[in-house]
């Protein structure tokens, strides 16, 4: 195949056979109880240097409690998949956890240029859909995927994409390397202890993330019985055999919203977003991450049940968010 142009950015090398071997050797074929606490899940499954993806973001049905736990544990040198994300990438970089960032969209501010200028962060450029297409290829066990966007941009030379002559039509087409993260964290509405999970409403790429990743940690608002899945199997978003850990995390997306369950906390969202835009997330991390030992303690000491009940009341729309 003739290569017409190619990006010079580093990218996580696709290895579909390596991925298959990983699945063969590591993923359980039976129903195994994977329920564990956030500390154990992050300790066991997130390693320094991992390629790290999360679905949705810190403000919208994202795994916010697990992102805080990653920062609390001081993980290092993560390569972060920055698709559709506001502040989580900034928190991970300013928390010293991330040294590489694939950018689709990230919450910007002085932190980003500063981290690059100081040599703390390498950035590679994509777009949101380009990254979710890379995950789609990874989720299909393929080495690459063709896409009819991204060509001609200045992101292209700073990416792992290639422009080739399509061997079938002879026309130029962009190829993207498949993306198989080492680890993904995904927040869901409901899961059982084995990892069967339901997501209601829209999402970004929760299914693609789960299927494409070597290690998958779910946090869930609610633990339900396996029989519930058998009663309505079409509503299973993620099957148990791709999942490695299930963390029961009510209000796990806080300060973000979980559609149909609770609204976001606007004051907290503004505090976090404002800290990012002003280039100072230290105070935020101290207050909400380092000075508490767990998500539960943060909810108790920093938020309080009165506020949490108010967030539930403010989420008035229920239609479509249950079976």
């Amino acid at each position: 195949m003739e290569i017409l142009a190619e990006g010079k950015g580093d990218y996580l090398r696709p290895d579909p056979d390596g991925f298959r071997a990983w699945v063969r050797d590591h993923k359980p074929r039976t129903l195994v109880n994977k329920l564990m606490g956030e500390q154990e899940a992050i300790t066991r499954l997130v390693s320094d240097g991992d390629y790290f993806a999360y679905d949705c973001n810190y403000f919208a049905r994202g795994p916010s409690s697990l992102i805080r736990e990653v920062i609390r544990q001081g993980k290092k040198d993560l390569w972060v998949c920055g698709k559709f994300t506001y502040v989580a990438a900034a928190l991970l970089v300013e928390g010293g956890c991330a040294s590489k960032l694939d950018i689709g969209f990230v919450g910007f501010g002085p932190w980003l240029s500063k981290a690059v200028a100081e040599g703390r962060l390498q950035t590679y450029e994509y777009s949101n859909v380009v990254l979710t297409y890379r995950l789609q290829a990874g989720a299909q066990g393929l080495p690459f995927i063709g896409v009819r966007s991204f060509g001609g941009t200045d992101g292209f030379p700073n990416s792992g994409a290639k422009l080739v002559k399509d061997p079938f039509s002879g026309k130029p087409v962009v190829l993207l390397p498949a993306l198989n993260p080492d680890v993904s964290i995904i927040h869901v509405h409901q899961a059982d202890i084995y990892g069967n999970a339901r997501v209601f409403g829209t999402g970004i790429a929760h299914v693609e993330c789960a299927l494409a990743s070597k290690k998958v940690i779910l946090s869930t608002e609610e633990i339900i019985e396996t029989d519930e899945f058998r009663r309505d199997p079409a509503r299973t978003s993620i099957p148990h055999f791709v999942v490695d850990a299930v963390v029961h995390a009510p209000f796990g997306a806080y300060p973000g919203t979980v559609q149909g369950r609770y609204a976001s906390d606007p004051a907290h969202v503004v505090e976090c977003f404002g800290g990012m835009m002003q280039g100072n997330l230290k105070a935020y991390l101290e207050k909400w991450v380092y000075s508490v030992s767990s998500h539960e303690e943060m909810l108790e000491k920093r938020v309080g049940w009165k506020k949490l009940q108010e967030l539930q009341r403010r989420e008035t729309i229920r239609e479509g968010y249950s079976v």
């Binding site: 949101n128 060509g151 001609g152 790429a205």
Partner: protein
């Protein structure tokens, strides 16, 4: 339809764009701010059946405003009573298949070929420039919708000969460049709308060209807020001012707190002439 006498220049931008929206076309709009307000205003007043898509795969919602800060997507009020809830890849697929006629986008910087920069002002390498968030969904919108409408402010630093970084493609380097880069045939930029003017593209050269100016500015004022001298259409039209009905919708149910429209200058009708409130003293 009563012409308004007092309005914000960004309200004018929203109204101008809303009137360009057609009932029998499909739209992909940025999840918040002006792009969303244009389609919602059109839905309320002109094209009640018009369908739109957002980046999180929401198809034709009945958006329930107002929203909490930053709750533009993957939030229940934004996706309320949609016809379908998908994901980012389903949205991308629809556009790649040709189902989306027009994308409406904000941009930080635009150049004479309609290229969009949302990545960096200044140099990219080494973190020396002022960094922004990246293309997000805009690259897909700009590459794959049949046409795009870009919204931005009329400022010299935003209209440049060549953007500092092409985050999302316009006509790239000119005629034929999109196809050579692997983008779908027959697609590309269509309009740029600012509070002061509306631009199209000259068909042959693919270059940005003013088509109409707002009633409260002169052509020279618009040209003074561009870093390059554009080709000129033989005749420039004057855009209509907002109507009171449009402003009522914007102020009572779209941008109630003025978070978007509150920035920018105020326009007044004075002695039968629209003018920027700020410039009155000087004339």
């Amino acid at each position: 339809m009563t012409p308004a006498t007092h309005f914000a220049e960004r309200e004018h931008l929203i109204c101008t764009t809303a009137r360009m929206i057609e009932e029998n076309k499909s739209y992909w709009v940025g999840g918040g701010g002006e792009p969303l307000y244009t389609i919602l205003l059109a839905q309320r007043l002109y094209t009640p059946g018009v369908q739109y898509l957002t980046e999180d795969g929401v198809v034709s919602p009945k958006a329930l405003l107002p929203w909490d800060p930053l709750m533009t997507m993957v939030a229940s009020r934004a996706g309320y009573r949609a016809l379908q809830w998908g994901t980012m890849n389903t949205a991308g697929n629809f556009a790649q298949l040709g189902y989306v006629d027009i994308g409406i986008l904000n941009t930080l910087q635009v150049d004479k070929f309609g290229n969009v920069n949302s990545t960096v002002l200044g140099p990219y390498a080494g973190g020396r420039g002022r960094r922004f968030g990246g293309p997000g969904g805009a690259d897909t919108i700009a590459a794959q919708c049949w046409r795009t409408i870009l919204l931005t402010d009329q400022q010299k630093r935003k209209f440049v000969e060549r953007v500092d970084f092409i985050s999302s493609p316009g006509f790239l380097e000119g005629p034929g460049a999109r196809e050579a880069a692997g983008l779908p045939a027959g697609t590309g930029p269509w309009r740029v709308v600012t509070p002061w003017a509306m631009f199209g593209y000259e068909e042959k050269s693919c270059e940005l060209m003013p088509m109409a100016v707002s009633p409260f500015v002169t052509v020279d004022m618009v040209l003074a807020e561009m870093s390059f001298t554009p080709k000129m259409a033989p005749q420039l039209k004057t855009l209509d001012p907002p109507t009171e009905e449009e402003l009522t919708v914007i102020r009572s149910s779209l941008d109630v707190e003025g978070q978007t429209t509150g920035r920018g200058q105020w326009v007044e009708l004075r002695d039968g002439k629209y003018m920027l409130a700020e410039t009155q003293g000087r004339e």
